[in-house]
């Protein structure tokens, strides 16, 4: 579904605009149709840059990006993108925000009935006339999800979509995203810095290293669904990943103290 080969991307360095700083150094992976893959890594490892490249908002220096068999050269409705900030258009009501993709592709007339379907899908059918500034963070992110899904994207790119929510809302929204994924079988590529989120949600976890970003490790032994955040398998996987990311803490010290 999504093929990424040897992607390299550099940006002008902030201190010296003449030199370039490598942000992504030879990223390669592929995502199968219907798969939910997580990209996890410390901030500044280029996860968001990679998503922007896949979305077509930026161009890679070298390498190959394929959606199906088509190379990616510009943004397109078949690759939906949801940011950490819902980025709802504040001048449009919830309903008009969800319709935006249909209007942009000039298919609103034929597909108007789908708007209600997607508002129901994210449980916002009563909020159609509300403006975004009336919505809570979780509700706004649900509108953003519906807005991206109404185009029936082949792949949904999620750039820390739940990062700005409080812990409880985030856990609820993780279930919500999983429900949407199971319901629609949309391929999803989720960028996160929350290890629990990655373990709870994904079929595969790709761990990235920092500057320049490389894929360090791919964890494929996903737990059976539905997952339990407090099961011993979950916690074991969690501590393994923490170890890989060098956040495990000093065990001898912990035991001795």
């Amino acid at each position: 579904m999504l093929g990424i080969r040897e992607i390299r991307k550099s940006f002008p360095s902030p201190d010296d605009p003449l030199t370039k700083r490598l942000v992504l150094d030879g990223i390669s992976f592929s995502v199968a149709a219907g798969e939910l893959v997580c990209l996890i890594g410390p901030s500044g490892c280029g996860k968001s840059t990679l998503l922007r490249l896949i979305a077509g908002l930026d161009l890679a220096d070298s390498g190959e990006l394929l959606i199906g068999s088509q190379p990616i050269s510009e943004p397109g409705a078949e690759r939906g993108l949801v940011f950490q900030d819902p980025n709802l258009f504040p001048w449009l009501t919830v309903r008009r925000n969800i319709e935006a993709g249909l209007v942009a592709r000039r298919v609103l007339r034929e597909k108007r009935n789908e708007v209600d379907q997607f508002m129901r899908l994210v449980g916002l059918e009563a909020f159609g006339g509300a403006y975004p500034h009336h919505l809570s963070g979780g509700m706004a992110q649900r509108v953003a999800l519906a807005r991206a899904l109404i185009n029936h994207p082949k792949v949904l790119l999620l750039d820390e979509p739940l990062g700005a929510l409080d812990a409880f809302t985030r856990m609820r929204m993780q279930d919500e995203v999983l429900r949407l994924w199971e319901n629609r079988r949309t391929t999803m590529l989720l960028v996160t810095h929350d290890i629990d989120e990655a373990i709870y949600m994904s079929d595969r976890i790709m761990i990235m290293t920092q500057r320049p970003g490389r894929i360090d490790r791919i964890i494929t032994d996903a737990l059976p669904r539905p997952r339990d955040r407090s099961s011993s398998d979950f916690l074991r996987l969690r501590s393994d990943i923490l170890e890989l990311l060098h956040f495990a803490g000093d065990r001898t010290d912990a035991n001795g103290g």
Binding site: D85, R105, A126, A148
Partner: protein, 341 residues
């Protein structure tokens, strides 16, 4: 989710505000608030009766009538507010300002008619101004009508051209490169500085004045529109592009709506500039309108008429301004509760 519960949540802020209003404004008005306006008007009446013995009766008649009317209306409102709560809170809000305005009218009467502290004919009393207002009402109405026609034609042309040039400069890098320096050099020149040139170039005085007003409006509208468009949040454009948007959608459905709050600032600035240019243009070229009326009345040393025209201008311009505020509130309903200005 329960529909009623959701709507309740949305409505709650409104309800809370209403509840606060009720506790604050729902109680009966104090004695002072009830009678302040009536008393102030009575004070005016006494002042006028004391001082107007020397002046001819025709002149003071309409002013006395006006005061009787104020007294009458204030008493009627006072009775009505006992039965109608919205009126009561409005009165509580407006009473101090009305009282002050009416007392100022009395002070004006004392200073001019009463002790003649200010030289005539430059500073007539309120009764004389009111008399000019009434006696010259046909010409004043005609002048207001001409001013309105001139203002609307100049303003609408300026806004239209300003929006188009602002959107072009804001959106296209090439147009910005060439357009911005021109805008920065030509824009700040006061439109009235072009009067000599405009009079030579225009086929008629009306076109000349309308063109000057349009020029005065064009600059702020262009400037603010361009800055609003070019400052559109990049992430809105990114989102729209991933939704499959083309250039038309990006300009007309993302950049322009995002710029609307800025555009309104430009519209307000342009409106202020248009009032100024209107009055100046009318007093030099056009032979009609309120600006012309003021300079014409000044030529005859009829200062009562000058003030009468200024009062009309105040009402006229502030009405136009209020209308634009209403339009803004309607268009920017999505900002409600986010921004106050």
């Amino acid at each position: 989710m329960n529909r009623a519960a959701i709507q309740l949540t949305l409505a709650r802020t409104e309800l809370e505000r209403d509840a606060i209003d009720l506790t604050k404004h729902g109680s009966t008005l104090s004695w002072r608030v009830q009678w302040a306006v009536t008393l102030a008007a009575l004070v005016d009446l006494v002042i006028h009766l004391l001082f107007s013995k020397r002046t001819p009766a025709v002149e003071t008649h309409s002013y006395k009538l006006l005061i009787y009317e104020i007294i009458g209306v204030s008493i009627v409102l006072n009775i009505a507010q006992r039965f109608w709560i919205p009126l009561r809170s409005w009165m509580r809000h407006m009473c101090p300002i009305f009282t002050a305005a009416i007392l100022l009218l009395g002070l004006w009467d004392v200073v001019t008619l009463g002790f003649q502290l200010l030289p005539l004919p430059y500073f007539p009393g309120p009764a004389a101004v009111l008399r000019s207002l009434i006696s010259d009402r046909a010409l004043l109405l005609d002048s207001t009508w001409h001013s309105l026609a001139l203002l609307l034609s100049g303003y609408s042309v300026g806004v239209l051209v300003g929006l188009v040039s602002g959107i072009c400069i804001g959106w296209s890098v090439q147009i910005r490169y060439w357009g911005m320096p021109l805008l920065k050099v030509v824009g700040p020149i006061p439109a009235t500085a072009w009067i000599p040139l405009a009079m030579v170039l225009s086929p008629s005085a009306f076109v000349c004045a309308a063109g000057l007003i349009a020029l005065a409006v064009w600059f702020p509208v262009t400037m603010l529109t361009a800055s609003g468009i070019s400052n559109t949040r990049a992430s809105y454009l990114d989102v729209a592009r991933t939704l499959g948007a083309g250039r038309t959608y990006l300009i007309f459905r993302v950049a322009i709506p995002a710029a609307v709050p800025n555009i309104f600032i430009g519209l307000f600035m342009g409106l202020g500039a248009s009032f100024l240019t209107l009055v100046v243009a009318e007093s030099v070229g056009v032979k009609s309108g309120l600006g012309w009326y003021v300079s014409w009345a000044q030529g005859w040393a009829e200062y009562g008429k000058v003030y009468a025209a200024i009062i009309i201008m105040a009402a006229f311009f502030s009405t136009v301004m209020t209308l634009l505020f209403k339009v803004r509130d309607h268009v920017l309903v999505w900002q409600k509760g986010m921004i106050k200005w």
